[in-house]
Subunit: 300 residues, 2 copies
């Protein structure tokens, strides 16, 4: 994989990151009252530099179906609110107890634990407010579908369920199947939501929907395995977060179960599968294909 | 106020509490997988005996407009999910650090802090899933309105904002105005939502909507002041939660600012005002009027 192969994708990813940050800046208004600290904490977390991969997938999967741009952008912002809330709560002392996130102190370090809990709560709530608002789409049924699917992806049967399993992972024996299921819930569900939302907004047909489900499924796993590899091989400065967390916590992950070489092989296999799913979209999918190469080659 | 005046209301409140518990029992299904602890914690908190006042108001305000019963009941259940999540998070050691709630150990005492954070997150998320689901109402626009208004009432501009102010209250000077604003956000916003939801589902006209807004506004404040009085005058066993929390935390509340007699007078005034707002509904509002007497006379 050479740098030039994914250069166009990276430019596009950076552009989208900027756009999403502008939208979030508008949606999370600062406040004057005594509650101002809450909005400061929400903005601190949500406007921090992130890759904004989930927004990229909402926007670029949606663009294949010529879905309306405002709807895609607001949905992307809502999804990023949920992702950001999950990072704030996962970083709490009673969870993963992390000091560093996106290259800056975590919210409970910068503010305090109560503010971190509340900022997470408020960002989660805001996500549903954004989706349900008529500015997102003129059709109420479509907005409700966006809300319902996001709730399912991020709730007890999705992301929060996955985080619960992760919290208990030190106490239960984990094999490849159980780690895969945990990660499908914890990180996969939100990545799959990006595809679902694009299909809802773009009016995708059954074959297209299935292709995108397959793509986001394999992509989510590939991304998580590459995350586990970076946890071993990356450094804190580049990643903007602490490394070797799983090993320190005595938790199994894809690398501890598959080994480094096995994990790398698995990422390549999943990446190839992910690309195969996109074949039906032909040229329309070329930036999405590049995004897979980016994940194969990611250093942060 | 004699016991017989509110007897019919109390019977009705108990019936609704039972019905809401049945609905929540169905909506929060237990799980088999390693995430089962999350669902146990959600059920532990949500199915515990509570007054279910918010559901009562959704149902009985909505019934005045002959709003569809299933829609009212699902909305009431969603609102109770949000209320329950807020209790779980507010009880956390980094917030109010409470050991007892609804007569049983708080979720972080019964399980652990991580489980409490996640159970709260999942209940909040579930509320929006319930509202957005087609079973709640056939009209997508109505469901979206329910979602959007609940998000506004419970987010940074509503309940969570109020809790942020409450967390900082030990550090800032509080007068009657600032305490009133804090409580309007922290507890008033969800009570007002009960009225908003009833109006949305019942297709209330402008005059009716305004009357209900006035009613829930005054009711919410009366309820909170009576809560502050119980914090001083009630006992832990009857209330099922710890008392004299504000005084211990050095926080001002309605009683510390108005005095016991002043606070009692204010509750009576607000209760009378609340009833006046309902005059336009004549006989249809008689159980709602009883509910106000119940709050005037509450012992838990």
């Amino acid at each position: 994989m050479t740098d030039s192969v994914t250069a166009e994708f990276e430019t596009c990813l950076n552009e989208i990151a900027d756009q999403v940050t502008v939208v979030l800046d508008r949606l999370i208004a600062p406040a004057d009252g005594p509650e101002a600290q809450l909005m400061r904490a929400m903005r601190y977390a949500a406007l921090a530099t992130g890759k904004r991969l989930r927004p990229f997938y909402v926007l670029h999967l949606g663009k294949m179906f010529e879905a309306p741009e405002t709807a895609l952008m607001r949905t992307a912002a809502a999804l990023e609110c949920v992702h950001t809330y999950s990072l704030i709560h996962d970083d709490l002392p009673c969870m993963d107890d992390d000091d560093l996130r996106r290259g800056q102190p975590t919210v409970h370090k910068q503010f305090d634990e109560a503010t971190a809990v509340l900022a997470g709560d408020a960002l989660l709530t805001l996500a549903f407010e954004i989706l349900a608002h008529r500015d997102t789409h003129s059709d109420g049924h479509i907005r409700c579908k966006l809300v319902e699917k996001l709730a399912r992806a991020s709730g007890a049967q999705g992301m929060v369920g996955g985080q619960m399993i992760d919290m208990l992972a030190g106490d239960i024996r984990q094999d490849l199947n159980s780690i895969t299921r945990m990660q499908r819930l914890k990180t996969g569900a939100l990545i799959s939501y990006a595809g679902e939302a694009a299909c809802i907004l773009g009016g995708a047909g059954d074959a297209e929907r299935q292709a995108i489900q397959g793509f986001t499924h394999d992509l989510g796993l590939a991304y998580q395995i590459s995350d586990d590899l970076l946890d071993i091989e990356g450094d804190t400065e580049t990643l903007g977060k602490e490394t070797q967390k799983d090993e320190d916590a005595g938790k199994a992950n894809f690398v501890s179960v598959l080994g480094v070489d096995g994990a790398k092989q698995r990422v390549r296999l999943l990446a190839a599968q992910a690309k195969d799913h996109l074949a039906i979209f032909r040229n329309r999918a070329y930036l999405l294909l590049q995004s897979v190469d980016f994940i194969l080659d990611r250093r942060k």
